[in-house]
Symmetry: C2
Subunit: 305 residues, 2 copies
Amino acid sequence: MTRISTLGEEGLIRRIARKIRTGSTVIRGIGDDCAVLKGPPGKHLLFASDMLVEGVHFRKSADPAAVGWKALAVNVSDIAAMGGIPRHAVISLGLPRNIPIRFVDGLYRGLTRCARRFRVNLVGGDTDRADQIVVDVAILGEVEQGRQVLRSGARVGDSLLVTGQLGGSVRSGRHLKFTPRFEEARAIASRVKLHAMIDLSDGLGPDLTRLCRASGAAARIDAHEIPRRKGCSLSQALTEGEDFELLMAVGRPEADRLLAWSRRNLRCGLRRIGRIVRRGQGPVVQVVDPEGRPIPVSLTGFKHF
Amino acid sequence: MTRISTLGEEGLIRRIARKIRTGSTVIRGIGDDCAVLKGPPGKHLLFASDMLVEGVHFRKSADPAAVGWKALAVNVSDIAAMGGIPRHAVISLGLPRNIPIRFVDGLYRGLTRCARRFRVNLVGGDTDRADQIVVDVAILGEVEQGRQVLRSGARVGDSLLVTGQLGGSVRSGRHLKFTPRFEEARAIASRVKLHAMIDLSDGLGPDLTRLCRASGAAARIDAHEIPRRKGCSLSQALTEGEDFELLMAVGRPEADRLLAWSRRNLRCGLRRIGRIVRRGQGPVVQVVDPEGRPIPVSLTGFKHF
């Protein structure tokens, strides 16, 4: 009997996506940070959901306001990764029967704080009994038609740029307090034509692999250019995940312009960490040293199953 | 320390809704079957989510295809209750690590079957590890501007109509296989101006109480007019829930027309079960016998906490 632990999350999603057919109002369905749907004239709708589960994404002892913040922030990050603007969210809560009401109050304090910060309307949802705390947020956003940035558009020769610093997010507690790169994504996307973008939830290694696979390409990363958070090893920066930084592929001249602009205008920082190359027989993502020699390092992140 | 078990689901929702402010694109936020949002010209968007939890809404031994069907069908029912058309859905799954892949395949077989039946595009979602099976669906629909039917529009003198038959849904397994009243709701709403509508998920007693509270009114129900499913007592028809029939409030002359039309055109049946009355000192919902004498019967349904 096959269990999902042998299939993994990626395998599961591929298995599901194969069987699903969608209509002509769906511009992009399963397989990106958000679905892209036909919207009002000149606009597309963005639609996504992200679930947090106690014991997997946070501990019961965590600050409930931080859990609430994170539950919405990960969804705002998904909208940001498409180049869009978050608008409305619904929240499904699974709660153990004996949970103190101050936990729920705290959770909503965090949710509403994040909603105010990113001008998201909390418009509904569902509340049910469950053995574990489960917070599932579905978000609706929009993007100007033709301005959506998918995972699948990276081209050979593109520069790979990443915001912020990577690694140590879970250990430091940053994963519960991070600020989604919404303003940064909008500022960047208004300046240059991005070919592809993804937010780093599982780690640079696995998420860059996803972007490459979706684009039918490969990537070569300069180990010394990866912006590591203080105290983090190369391996930690590549695989710990929960960074919620943005990774983008953009033509080389545009990347030069963007990097020059970012020095004065992007507080979180922007780094060129490598480039998109042709997909060959070798690994999809290769990490190299300053002499261009491959570094043997695992790119596998957190396993959901 | 207050726990949510003392507050209950209704109390919890009121507590949450009080603290939330929304922008001008929100026509109706928390507190109805769906949120109503500004959409493309001439349309409003409908947005909702509904979560199923193993051990609460279904047993682990349940047919996974039936669980998948139900997970989407309850959301289609929410859209139907607003008079709208379902369009797109995202699915968040919480799954135990050791779950057989055939359970997930079955779940998606049911989801896609329901999606095809009601022309809903499955466009994304999230998959995470959890101790219990959790299936949360968020749905996006639309309704012609001004044609949305809220819970809050019932007027004194309105007839109360209900589709189908009530009671015994969980015992018979019908709750896993029910057909949401989408076509029926569209046919009815195109014929008359409905004042208010709600789908019966928790039972006629609790859901009619909700409709009355939202409308600032009360209701008087004729016990002998309630369409009970075979073998069900009055109390079971009032409180067992999971019927997913539609309850609507409509002016008396329109109700007469609708009832006449329904005899030839509505296979599920439509019954006038009572009327909306002024809110006084007495109970919000009163059930009476053929002589108009109040029947002492509990209207409290399934407690979520």
